[in-house]
């Protein structure tokens, strides 16, 4: 009876795995065929011979290698600074006592309620008036302070014992040193989770980079892939290959930070 339950559980899990992996399989298969073949009935389910041709066309029509570097640079710089800002602001809001702390935290959280569409035009005008349109800093800077990240890090630091911070101060460590050497290492799991989240959100960002970047060689991956949707011909095989390649960095970031990430997820599970 128990065995039967186990079998059923595995069957359900296997089914779930197939359902969630099928789109990836199809993405990989589709990038090895011509677009014309992807419209055939029945659909092809086995690899075709077109992978290198598709790769060459992708590179030739969108300068994909360059675009991947752009995306990588933007996402890495954004992730480093955004997590830093989040950690520092979160630490400040959690551990420093000052007038208006609660109001400030409320204001930070309130920004999460402003829809992106409302921000677009005013932010665009700001960037235009500083002359930053078509620059990478215009893509990175406006969203560096991220309310979700600040809140996440504040919660992470909230349980950190005050006495440790005080001990560090008594031993003569400055505020920065206390932050980097004593406080931050304890919050590594949350930090790793935030890194994954931040990197993914910037890697997938579409509308803001679309508005800011006006040169084909400075595009990010989503913008470059968007160019493959034409008026009378959608280059699906190129799109699929590009999307497949674009998931690789995400996969690497996830695998690299995964150990910490899972620790972060479990962090709140057991109250100590």
């Amino acid at each position: 009876m128990k065995r039967l339950g186990l079998v059923a559980a595995y069957a359900a899990l296997a089914l779930g795995a197939v359902v969630s992996l099928l789109p990836f399989w199809w993405m990989a298969i589709a990038s090895t065929h011509t677009t014309s073949e992807l419209f055939a009935t029945p659909l092809p389910w086995l690899p075709g011979p077109q992978l290198l041709e598709n790769l060459a066309r992708l590179e030739q029509s969108t300068e994909f290698a360059r675009v991947m570097l752009n995306s990588l640079g933007i996402a890495v710089v954004y992730t480093i600074f955004s997590t830093l800002v989040s950690a520092m602001a979160g630490y400040g809001l959690a551990k420093f006592r000052f007038r208006g702390r609660g109001v400030l935290l409320g204001l930070v959280l309130l920004t999460m309620m402003i829809p992106m569409q409302v921000l677009l035009v005013p932010l665009f005008q700001m960037m235009a008036s500083i002359g930053w349109i078509d620059s990478y800093q215009a893509v990175i800077l406006p969203f560096l302070a991220n309310a979700f990240g600040i809140f996440l890090m504040r919660q992470a630091f909230l349980d950190f014992p005050d006495s440790l911070v005080e001990a560090s101060r008594i031993d003569g460590a400055g505020e920065l040193r206390t932050f980097y050497r004593v406080v931050l290492p304890v919050a590594l799991p949350q930090l790793a989770a935030l890194v994954i989240y931040t990197f993914m959100s910037q890697w997938n960002a579409f509308i803001w980079p679309l508005l800011m970047l006006n040169t084909e060689t400075s595009y990010t991956v989503p913008l470059a892939l968007n160019r493959m949707i034409g008026l009378t011909h959608v280059d699906y095989s190129g799109l699929m290959l590009g999307s497949l390649l674009a998931t690789l960095p995400l996969l690497l970031v996830f695998l690299f930070f995964q150990k910490q990430f899972i620790a972060g997820l479990l962090g709140g599970a057991v109250k100590g």
Binding site: F39, T41, F124, Q125, N214, R227, I229, G230, L231, T232
Partner: protein
């Protein structure tokens, strides 16, 4: 630093608010900026386009630069799928747009009525060429003040593509498909002999319904801008689609991908579609070469035998830094027979500039269509496309129209009733009168 940035933020918010208010109130008191033609434009411009249109402009920009010293033209492919997000934000912000932008015909009227100050009037550059352009395109590029604000680029002239092998098997002569009634009768014969449906369309998109109205000179709105989606012509158009469905001759497919797959699989015998469909056929279904032919659309009585679906224009935003060069380049590319014909040959863009249609390329047989001179057929029809009034509210109406078409065609409702209902909804949504 911090307080300064907050002041700046407040200032731009105020600015954008006034910008919106201006956009919403229709034509403002002051007239839109105009461009003065210059004998020798110089300097540099940036152009936004997409896909094959960008390819064409990049190619022609090089030629323009060599024949016009001291000019630099930088063409950027901004991607077609989300281009209007970029263009709309730039228009609203009043900055950030290039000197020349590509705008499709079905978006043209919307932009011109929403941003009457947003574009440069081009009367001094192409104002005398009205007779040389596809009349439907010229109408769509005309602003609320009667001035011309965009240079029409390519036409989406519509005709009826057919599978010659299916028609032959059913003993149907394509040249006999001169009316919709004749087409439906032929469809029944084709279904009986070959088992294929007559046409595969996405009913919910309402695009085919639009074509059938336009060929009768009717549309969702009439010439005065009143809602006319329940006109007798519209009811007639919807009744035809409903009849095709009720007789089991219609295959309803989802979106672009569904139509391409269905055509490739050979589900249906005919496809009422624009000239650019040739590009889709030749790139996605090479193996069907020799199996297609084209005839003009079937008519309603003595109506036109064509309509328009798609096509673009070039417009100079009011914020352009070098409007003179931008307008000159646009006219040089688009109001020129040789250059327009070269875009037909190399990029498959079908000219809206009528003098180009007498170039030799339009007289050549096309191998894909078994040697038929298909471009000649489209060229003959282009000047006959009935102009319709898109107004600034086409986007608001499109979902309502799509729902009405679905209700009548797929759910068996009476066409007149659903269109009366749709007219009321559109009138409420847009604040327009129902024509009557």
């Amino acid at each position: 630093m911090k307080s300064r940035s907050i002041v700046a933020l407040a200032a731009v918010t105020a600015l954008s608010l006034t910008g919106c208010a201006m956009g919403g109130t229709g034509p403002a008191a002051t007239s839109a900026p105009a461009v003065t033609a210059s004998a020798k434009p110089t300097g540099s411009i940036t152009v936004w386009s997409w896909d094959v249109a960008a390819t064409a402009l990049k190619r022609l920009a090089t030629e323009y630069q060599s024949s016009h010293p001291d000019t630099t033209i930088d063409v950027v492919d901004i991607g077609y799928d989300n281009a209007y997000d970029k263009i709309s934000v730039g228009l609203q912000a009043g900055s950030g747009l290039p000197d020349l932008v590509t705008i499709e015909t079905d978006h043209a009227s919307g932009y011109l009525s929403q941003f009457p100050q947003g574009f440069v009037k081009l009367d001094s550059v192409i104002g005398d060429k009205k007779a040389d352009f596809d009349p439907s395109k010229w109408a769509a590029a005309t602003g609320t003040d009667g001035g011309i604000y965009m240079v029409p680029w390519d036409s989406g002239t519509v005709a009826l593509y057919y599978r010659s092998d299916y028609l032959k098997a059913a003993g149907v002569d394509p040249n006999s498909l001169t009316t919709w009634d004749a087409l439906i009768a032929a469809g029944e014969r084709i279904k009986a002999t070959t088992g294929h449906t007559l046409m595969s369309i996405d009913v919910s998109s309402g695009a085919t319904f639009g074509m059938l109205m336009q060929q009768q000179g009717a549309w969702i709105f009439d010439a005065q801008g009143n809602v006319s989606v329940n006109s007798p012509q519209a009811v007639q158009a919807l009744t035809v689609l409903k009849t095709i469905h009720d007789k089991g001759l219609l295959k309803n497919v989802k979106g672009w991908d569904g139509r391409v797959s269905s055509t490739k699989a050979g589900d249906s015998a005919v496809h009422p579609e624009a000239v650019w469909w040739i590009g889709t056929l030749e790139s996605e279904m090479k193996e069907l070469s020799g199996k297609f032919g084209v005839v003009p659309l079937p008519a309603f009585g003595d109506s036109a035998r064509t309509a328009a679906n798609g096509g673009s224009n070039l417009a100079v935003p009011a914020q352009a830094k070098n409007p003179t060069l931008a307008a000159d380049f646009a006219a040089w590319v688009l109001a020129d027979a040789k250059n327009q014909a070269s875009m037909m040959e190399k990029e498959g863009l079908f000219p809206a500039y009528l003098p180009a249609l007498t170039e030799p390329i339009f007289n050549q047989p096309d191998k894909y269509f078994g040697g038929q001179k298909v471009y000649q057929l489209f060229a003959e029809q282009t000047a006959k496309i009935p102009p319709v009034n898109f107004t600034g509210d086409a986007a608001k109406a499109s979902d309502i129209v799509g729902n009405a078409v679905v209700a009548a065609v797929l759910n068996g409702k009476d066409p007149k009733t659903v269109l009366d209902d749709a007219a009321k909804q559109i009138a409420t949504a847009t604040g327009r009168q129902i024509a009557g």
